[in-house]
Amino acid sequence: MHDDLFRPTISEQPPPGKPPWRPESIVYPAFFGGPLAAATLGLLNGRRLALPTTHLVAIGAAGVAGFGARIAVGALTDGNSALRLAGTVCGLLVWLVVLSLQRRPFRVATLRGREPARLIGPGFAAAIGCGLFEALVLAVLVR
């Protein structure tokens, strides 16, 4: 009756690599750093969680789209505050994409007894690095 349930389906697990970050925590670098910071951390964490390639592509595409939207805002409005705001909003939107794709794999990883890694260092690096990069590109393209 339950033949298919009682068939072995467990595959050999690859040896655990680096421990993943809590996807919820990426909100902070996303807020301060913008869409590219969120996407960069999302991609790195996605590799740690061994996400399928389509999900990784989706995160990357969301990051590019978010940055594109920010450039569009910069081209259409003047004044720095709208541009800064667009960075925050797009960053949070990209982070929502990351969260929706990573929450479940992260919880499964913790079921397997893996402790999350600390995001403080990489988070600051991504927020500052990507934030500066975005500012630079925007300065060259729009201003």
């Binding site: 349930l5 499964v108 079921l111």
Partner: protein, 286 residues
Amino acid sequence: MNATLHQAQALLATGRPEQALTQLSLLPANEVTGSYAMQLRCAALSQLDRWPEVGDAARAALAANGPDPDLLLWLGRAEHEAGRDRTAERAFLDGLALAPDDVDLLCAYADLCAADGQLDKADRLVELAAARAPQAPVVYATRIQLAHARGDNRTAQRISQEFVGVHPDNPVAHALLGGTSAARGHVDAAYEGFRQAAAARPTEQVFAESAMELRVARHPLMRPLRPILRFGAIKTWLVAVALIIGLRAAGLPALGGLLGLLWLVYCVYSWVVPPLVRKWVMRSWR
């Protein structure tokens, strides 16, 4: 069952695995490797977190007694703990071939599948177990675990409440209600859950530690952080950002700026204060 085994079982049920092991070592040589004595031994060793020895004991018992679903359950659990998931699966499936309705085996296999990311198969296995014994503690615990793995905190908490309602004396039920309430930011309910669990089983370190963590969360200095705990960082942030943007759009940039500054201070507070309070509370306990 003889008196020694009874006593060992009673010791285990009250969370005193070391004494249970001593009791089991008093058994005569011909009974020491009996299936039930070895199961108690495995249970005691698992409570002490000595999983490699659980595996050794289960293997020795299987060699002495032949295939036995309960021993295969212990072997599978020990292999799962050791990270040898395929061997664990084989042990569970061998056990299920002998006893397809065994609720413990079904739930243990569901746990294994969930840890492998096969949540749908895990759900079907636990449904099968729930059809056999809908109110068994292990069925509740596994359903809660699966709901948590799906990211469904609300369902996890609902099942925990059901679990406590049906088994009000079960410390694990209270601990799970504590954990799932904490995940939803219900600090007081979470503390109550772990407090009751720790009171019912004072030897379990984890319950006491969690109760402790929640004592920290209930500290007066942590009160301002309740919104984050209750609604989650995500919703709190979105509301704050929406308010700041809204004020600017409404032509009140000064007010928006002030709110932004307050929000920044609040964020810093939420990063700095919790570790300090934790240190404080811990010191006053020692």
